[in-house]
């Protein structure tokens, strides 16, 4: 059927089948494969219903992707998907529906080599960030981001771009702004609201050029893996390295606040810009 006829319902997790959840950067991979399996089961019932109406064998039926089912080699012997589903529901007493689950067997560790496959669908990223660090105030400003991502096939390229742009913002926020313990490990100093829990605003973002490399994953749904957490993660080490490159201060605790940068500069006896490469 045409994609315009596809309606995605947001099911209630209280009443639907059990799902372990969307985490570990695998929502697209696992859910996508489960949806394909469910669609195949529903399609098989629909073809059985169509076969009964056309008085043929289901194996002889093909679909044209435009909402029609016909006998292989005989396009005139056809029925629409809507008619087939109507017949299933109201004449034949069948439910045109499907279920799906996608489970990857637990990967055992090879006792000799230690080899295992803990994940199967992580995206990969490279990210370069240009920043300015003020060695008097410790403030850092992101000037430019350039990134490249490998995430299988981009199933919906506009949504992938949206996720990467938004994720980079969140990465910046984790790198330099957000914390529940801003100064000292005392809950009393923790932020209570958005006036104290800081995040970059629309004026703090930088131009971001993104390249998406599509290398379809063999076991992904139509080759897709999805960006997952990789949309945010590479920003953090990139910013930490950029701060070191700019003023020679190694900060190993997030977020990288002006206070930490200034303390580092003071400990070093001044800013020590590293050589460019």
């Amino acid at each position: 059927m045409p994609v315009e006829d596809v309606y995605v319902d947001t099911a209630d997790s209280d009443t639907g089948p059990h799902c372990m959840g969307s985490f570990a950067s695998r929502g697209t991979h696992r859910v996508g494969n489960a949806v394909i399996q469910a669609a195949q089961e529903a399609r098989a019932v629909m073809l059985e219903a169509a076969a009964e109406e056309l008085e043929v064998d289901p194996a002889d039926l093909v679909t044209d992707g435009k909402g029609n089912i016909h006998v292989k080699g005989a396009p005139s012997r056809s029925i629409t998907t809507a008619e087939a589903c109507g017949a299933a529901q109201f004449k034949q007493g069948r439910t045109v529906s499907g279920r799906g689950i996608f489970l990857i067997p637990l990967s055992e560790v090879d006792p000799d080599t230690g080899e295992m496959t803990p994940v199967s669908c992580f995206a990969h990223a490279a990210l370069i960030v240009d920043i300015d660090v003020d060695d008097e105030t410790g403030e850092l400003v992101v000037v430019q981001m350039n990134s490249a991502y490998e995430l299988g096939r981009a199933l919906n390229p506009r949504l992938v771009e949206q996720q990467l742009v938004g994720g980079a913002w969140m990465g910046m926020s984790h790198a330099a702004w957000e914390t529940t313990e801003p100064y000292y490990p005392d809950r009393g100093h923790g932020p209570l609201d958005f006036n104290q829990y800081l995040m970059p605003g629309p004026g703090d973002i930088a131009p971001h050029d993104i390249a998406v490399l599509e290398r379809p994953a063999p076991d992904g749904p139509f080759g897709g893996k999805g960006p997952g957490e990789m949309c945010a993660n590479p920003v953090l080490p990139a910013v930490a390295n950029a701060v070191f490159n700019a003023v020679g201060v190694r900060i190993d605790e997030l977020p990288i606040t002006p206070e930490k940068i200034l303390r580092g500069i003071r400990a070093n006896g001044g800013a020590r810009p590293q050589a460019g490469r």
Partner: protein, 161 residues
């Protein structure tokens, strides 16, 4: 506590409702007259998702005393589309993928409408300032800024509502 009668215009329609003393405008809009388009976010004026227009000016409805809008003109996201015709800002938000989870969107739209109503051709910096009181957790702001700039540009071709 005695309830007080309150009259105002909501998206062009007369509304009359009884409110509690001290009740805020957001609560009256959502529970009093059933307009669920302005969202409750932080409840203390820090996130901007409850933004509505009062006589064309953006106000944080969670911090606005309902009694203060007696006789005034309220515009919410619910009043942007005309029938099936989306407002140019809504179209631009859609085309620029400016909504992800969508929770900040009503506030962003109202902040943007207030800006474009008084400044039809804003610079990027003016757009940034106009939405700087609105928090977005998903988009990284860039698509929202682009959508508002595009809506401003399309105003020349179409009548902007």
């Amino acid at each position: 506590m005695a309830k007080k009668p309150l009259h105002f215009r909501l998206n062009g329609a007369e509304k009359a409702v009884f409110v509690d003393e001290g009740q805020n405008l957001l609560d009256v809009l959502r529970r009093g007259v059933g307009d669920l388009t302005p969202k409750y976010g932080c409840g203390q004026g820090a996130c901007g998702t409850c933004t509505v227009l009062v006589d064309g000016e953006p106000h944080l409805s969670c911090l606005t005393l309902a009694e203060a809008v007696e006789g005034r003109r309220i515009t919410t996201t619910g009043g942007l589309a005309q029938g099936n015709q989306l407002h140019p800002l809504q179209t631009a938000f859609m085309e620029n993928f400016a909504a992800q989870c969508g929770y900040c969107t009503p506030g962003m739209l109202m902040a943007a409408k207030a800006l474009l109503d008084r400044n039809p051709s804003p610079t990027r910096q003016e757009v940034v300032e106009a939405i700087s009181g609105n928090i977005c957790r998903c988009t990284g702001y860039e698509p929202i800024i682009n959508a508002i700039l595009e809506a401003a540009k399309s105003r020349g071709a179409r009548q902007y509502g």
